[in-house]
């Protein structure tokens, strides 16, 4: 499991000290001064932390293939500033209260209707934008939601599970437990409840290839396998930052058509995976600095992650 953590862990952006400094800046001065502090910190990372630059280079090179070296450096600065803003916004929710957050969810009613069919619903999130925002809003569904994830102690996003509305509806299922929590997740979906899983994390489980931003990357098979075997619905949720502590949740339903029923099971799994990747590429075309997997997502090395 340590091997998994090393391969998926981004460079430590300041650690506990950095988190503490920004926490107190937020508490004493507010969000805008925290953004200003960020603007001073980001150049340090870009100039003095080659590990940080290397961590985002694979994505930026694919997303912006025509950049010069100077252009890549400037884009890296912008990327880290965008990433930092999202982290500050997450921390602001815990420090300043959830009422400071504005979340726009145009298709909330559609998601609500789908969840209340009680057919079982798999919510696919990604380390893009402020994914914790999407998760925290699931309390409004009024249906139990089981999140398969690891909550690390110092993560700013913990607040979302403490302060989100109707948090009594939330259950956390650790992917490190016996069989990756699949027993709980299967029971939940089969009971007509919701399950939230990450489309870009396999947690050591089986993966399948898909072309993503022009190169083959491995994606977990589990969300599609679970959806098809339980005959449930699958929805992709992505968030986009629209301003200071303001986000929009984008919703795409990728099941519900009869074409999947006519396919052999393994083809249907591939089809759903490709639909998810297409959603992700469309999102990144519009929000190119919102991809927050700060490691080489396309590395074949990832395949061997236990």
């Amino acid at each position: 499991m340590a091997e998994t953590d090393r391969k998926h862990r981004s460079p430590d952006y300041g650690g506990r000290l950095g988190y503490g400094i920004f926490h107190w800046c937020l508490r004493l001065l507010g969000v805008v001064p925290a953004y200003a502090l960020l603007a001073m910190v980001v150049p340090y990372y870009v100039v003095f932390r080659p590990d940080a630059r290397r961590s985002v280079a694979p994505y930026l090179k694919l997303r912006f293939p025509d950049l010069t070296r100077l252009g890549m450096l400037l884009k890296t600065v912008k990327y880290f500033y965008a990433f930092g803003q999202v982290l500050i916004d997450q921390a602001a929710m815990g420090v300043l209260g959830p009422e400071r957050f504005k979340v726009d969810f145009p298709k909330a009613k559609e998601l609500h209707a789908l969840a209340h069919k009680r057919k079982g619903l798999v919510l696919l999130t990604t380390h893009a934008g402020n994914w914790q925002t999407a998760m925290a809003n699931m309390g409004d569904l009024q249906v139990p939601v089981h999140f398969q994830l690891r909550l690390e102690a110092h993560t700013a996003g913990r607040h979302f599970f403490d302060l989100g509305s109707n948090r009594e509806m939330f259950r956390i299922v650790s992917p490190d437990g016996f069989l990756g929590g699949m027993v709980e997740l299967t029971n939940a979906v089969k009971s007509g409840e919701c399950v939230s899983v990450m489309g870009d994390r396999s947690w050591g489980g089986k993966t399948g290839p898909a072309v993503f931003l022009g190169q083959v990357a491995e994606f977990p098979i589990m969300p599609y396998h679970l959806t098809l075997h339980t005959d449930s619905e699958l929805v992709v949720l992505l968030t986009a930052r629209t301003g200071k502590c303001a986000y929009r949740i984008e919703y795409t339903r990728i099941t519900g058509d009869c074409n999947l029923d006519d396919m052999p099971r393994n083809h249907a799994i591939q089809e759903l995976m490709h639909r998810y990747v297409a959603c992700l590429e469309d999102y990144l075309a519009r929000h190119p600095l919102m991809w927050f997997n700060c490691f080489d997502f396309w590395s074949p090395d990832k395949q061997d992650t236990p």
Binding site: F178, L179, G181, M182, V183, T186, K190, G205, M222, H229
Partner: protein, 102 residues
């Protein structure tokens, strides 16, 4: 109860319990599409996950659904699943205990 009748009853119980193990082996191999393994190849105490039959966490989805569909048994969580999912023999014992104590 006459001794001969008692002996016959015990033999029938033995046959029934062996049948459950065999039934589970056949069902697991067929429905989880395990290649190159027959029910006779699989011992009752061979591990199901990892070594032995070599199932993985994705197969757990189907195993949970099989239990619900064919035996009307729901295993609530990973802790409850740990022992019954360790081998066919353990799974059969679990099913019998649930039947005896619904």
């Amino acid at each position: 109860m006459p001794a001969r009748f008692r002996e016959t009853l015990y033999s029938l119980k033995e046959v029934a319990s062996l049948s459950l193990e065999h039934e589970l082996k056949t069902m697991v191999i067929r429905e989880l599409k395990v290649d190159d393994v027959t029910p006779d190849d699989l011992k009752d105490d061979d591990p199901l996950f990892g070594e032995g039959l070599g199932l993985d966490s994705l197969d757990a989805v189907e195993l949970v659904l099989l239990l619900q569909k064919h035996y009307q048994i729901e295993i609530k969580d990973m802790e409850e699943a740990r022992k019954p999912f360790s081998s066919i023999g353990a799974l059969a014992e679990y099913i019998r205990s649930r039947r005896d104590n619904p």
